[in-house]
């Protein structure tokens, strides 16, 4: 008897708990969605200026901002910025991935004398955000004549990539060593094992590395701002930062356009992402 009344009592309480949970979730999702929705709608505004909006949203909609973005290039050459960003990101991604995969493979498969010291060093260097040395980078780049050079940026990005080798190393750690050993008994050298066995097995990891090292230059603003002073060399980030305050719709349209590839990438790889994020954490 008492048991039954207990059950009856819990039910409304549980219902209330569930309702509250959903309420909070809805609020949180709204908070995350709203600024993005605001930007997307603003990019379709007809007038372009933020002052003509009523509250958060434009009063009339059209594709004008997008058309203007790609045709009205005298002041703000968005297609040019876009091409620059694409070139820098692609190159950095290709070179950076090659270096990262090599580093991760060596750190995972070889036991050499300075290995632990190198791992500690990369960790400390990694704690040194790249822009903390920006004074020095700036001066060095001036001396090497790499200011206003896209290759200067590409070199910095790709040389910095191997420092984030931990995720890839974790992946190589999970590939069983016994395959390597079998190949070694058959007389394969380590180089051959790397090219013929490890690389094909690591294909998904290589794709992940390519994409994630593409994203960094694609959305970075500090280094391009520091090193690219010439308007024709601007990346999208620097270009959008240079926009006038009245050009809100142009900014919104330009942002939507550059954010889409990254959003697609994140959704496609959200599973990888969770693993990558927890790579630094302790597994139980």
């Amino acid at each position: 008897m008492s048991k039954q009344t207990g059950k009856l009592k819990i039910k409304p309480k549980k219902l209330f708990g569930a309702a509250l949970t959903y309420l909070i979730i809805l609020a949180v999702c709204f908070i995350f969605l709203f600024p993005i929705l605001w930007l997307v709608l603003a990019s379709f505004s007809k007038t372009g200026s933020i002052y003509s909006f009523k509250g958060f949203f434009p009063t009339a909609y059209s594709f004008d901002s997008f058309v203007k973005l790609f045709t009205d290039t005298e002041m703000y050459n968005y297609p040019r910025w876009f091409g620059n960003t694409l070139f820098i990101s692609l190159m950095s991604s290709l070179i950076g991935t090659a270096l990262t995969i090599l580093t991760a493979y060596c750190m995972s498969r070889f036991r050499f004398k300075s290995r632990k010291a190198m791992m500690k060093t990369t960790l400390v260097l990694g704690m040194f955000p790249s822009f903390m040395t920006m004074t020095a980078v700036y001066i060095l780049m001036t001396q090497f004549n790499l200011i206003n050079q896209q290759w200067g940026l590409i070199m910095i990005y790709s040389a910095g990539a191997p420092m984030g080798y931990l995720t890839q190393k974790g992946f190589f750690d999970t590939i069983s060593v016994s395959i390597d050993e079998a190949a070694r008994i058959d007389g394969a050298s380590n180089f051959k094992i790397f090219v013929k066995i490890t690389l094909p097995l690591a294909a998904p990891m290589i794709v992940y590395t390519l994409l994630s090292s593409f994203v960094w230059p694609w959305s970075d603003f500090i280094l391009p701002k520091l090193l690219l002073k010439n308007k024709d060399l601007y990346t999208v980030a620097v270009g959008l930062m240079s926009l006038d305050n009245t050009e809100f719709s142009r900014f919104a349209a330009g942002s939507v356009f550059i954010a889409i590839p990254i959003i697609v990438f994140y959704f496609a790889l959200s599973k990888f992402l969770i693993n990558g994020l927890s790579a630094g954490a302790v597994k139980q």
Partner: protein
């Protein structure tokens, strides 16, 4: 309530820290012995090495040639000649230039081409690197000669040059593969750091830029930052706010992310993947876009102020020069918006690994949901994410973007080239990039680095992911 189930975890953590303390103690206890072992090898070569090894000590490669190891001998000999040529023609001058930083003041008016101190500093660093490189090769040359001697004494065929070269694709493949990444990291990460550290001890910057001569000034820049009227008040004000900011933002982001993950993990929530898309969407938008958008949102013409004015109020300068705490609060909120999603993803990943038996046992014992959270979930998540938490703290400590975009380039009374929301990293940018105070900026970098690296290295070495990595292979 029965406590023994939960004590397991706290005991584990206690044991973990005890083990770390022991490991650190052990490290220092065995240090003298390990140094002794290092020198034992050198002593052996010095006492046991024959005349041919000594020949290699005088001229690199000579011993190898005497043993008829032509390939190796000639390579070492060429290295010796190349280094000597470099050192006599250029290296020695560069090395001295490193200490003087130039003695001849240039003057364009009289057509005198003076010394460029910055180039001299750079070339000086390169000459020191060349010397270190030479010493490493020199030692490997002696070791190699001794190894040949040992092989010859036991009538074994010494390893040929060709074989050693081909081992670079097999046994020593890591040396080949790591060469390029290491050079890249050295040039683009380590060289700037060395350069920056050295600049912090010069008077480079302000009016002292080439063609004026730069000089070494020792710790003067640090003394200026910590004591001088111009810099010190700004430094301490910014440092205090920087610490407060790092703690608050890390705390908010971490626990909000954990809370969100727990909320979405509840049994009554249907369509978890769908709800998770919203934070991921926010996470995926590049940071600079979000930051510029938020700046628009809080600007005078922005939607919030429009709503206020249309409701009959007066526009509020959220990010104005006198908006100290409003601006700081907006900074914290915007940073939370940007970073809670990644915290949520991380916590979701960690929570999927929690041992569910513990909850079952706790439920049987009648523990409340809150008690389960405090006694099981929280210790476990904290334990597992400690390294990540630390790196988040450091990332927040050096969070350049937030206030650069929200209130960049604002200089205030009472602050030297900074505003009351600026963090040390923003101050550093204002000083060195916008106003040419290179040496002071470099000194600030070093202070930030010391504070952050001590925290991170200590925690990393103590964490099991470093110590017990072999167990997961």
């Amino acid at each position: 309530m029965e406590n023994s189930t939960y004590n397991g975890i706290t005991n584990k953590i206690r044991a973990f820290f005890a083990a770390k303390a022991k490991a650190v103690k052990n490290f220092f206890a065995t240090l003298p012995q390990r140094i002794k072992n290092k020198f034992a090898g050198a002593k052996e070569i010095l006492t046991q090495g024959n005349g041919k090894v000594s020949a290699s000590m005088c001229i690199m490669g000579l011993g190898q040639l005497l043993y008829r190891q032509w390939g190796k001998g000639i390579t070492y000999l060429l290295a010796q000649i190349a280094f000597l040529a470099y050192f006599i023609m250029k290296g020695a001058g560069d090395f001295i230039g490193f200490f003087t930083l130039g003695v001849k003041q240039g003057n364009a008016w009289y057509g005198i081409e003076g010394d460029n101190s910055v180039i001299m500093l750079l070339m000086g660093i390169l000459s020191i690197i060349a010397i270190i490189f030479y010493v490493v090769i020199y030692i490997s040359n002696i070791r190699d000669a001794y190894r040949i001697q040992c092989a010859a004494d036991t009538l074994k065929q010494p390893v040929s040059f060709k074989k050693e070269l081909s081992s670079l694709l097999d046994k020593n493949f890591h040396k080949t593969a790591l060469a390029l990444p290491i050079v890249g990291v050295c040039v683009f990460s380590i060289l700037p750091i060395i350069f920056m550290i050295l600049i912090a001890f010069t008077n480079y910057g302000g009016t002292v830029v080439p063609p004026a001569l730069v000089d070494w000034v020792g710790f003067e820049n640090f003394a200026k930052i910590l004591t001088l009227g111009q810099f010190a008040p700004t430094f301490f004000k910014i440092f205090g706010w920087n610490i407060l900011w790092a703690i608050l933002s890390t705390f908010i982001n971490y626990f909000a992310g954990l809370g969100l993950a727990l909320l979405l993990n509840r049994k009554c929530v249907k369509g978890k993947t769908f709800w998770r898309l919203f934070p991921i969407l926010a996470y995926a938008v590049p940071g600079f876009i979000t930051l510029i958008a938020f700046k628009f949102m809080f600007s005078y013409g922005g939607p919030i102020n429009q709503m206020i004015t249309s409701a009959g109020g007066t526009a509020i300068g959220f990010l104005d020069i006198d908006a100290k705490w409003t601006a700081r609060l907006i900074g914290l909120m915007v940073n939370a918006w940007l970073n809670i999603p990644s915290g949520m993803l991380l916590a979701t990943g960690i929570l999927s690994n929690v041992n569910t038996d513990l909850y079952e046992a706790a439920r049987v014992d009648g523990a409340s949901a809150w008690k389960q959270f405090v006694k099981i979930t929280l210790p476990y998540v904290l334990f597992a994410t400690m390294p990540v938490l630390i790196s988040q703290f450091i990332a927040n400590f050096n969070n350049f973007g937030i206030f650069y975009f929200l209130r960049g380039g604002l200089y205030m009374d009472g602050y030297f080239l900074a505003s009351d929301t600026d963090l040390l990293i923003n101050w550093l940018y204002n000083m060195s990039i916008d106003n040419n105070y290179y040496s002071i900026g470099a000194a600030i970098s070093i202070i930030i680095f010391i504070v952050t690296s001590i925290i991170s290295l200590a925690v990393y070495v103590m964490s099991p992911s470093y110590k017990q990595e072999e167990t997961y292979q």
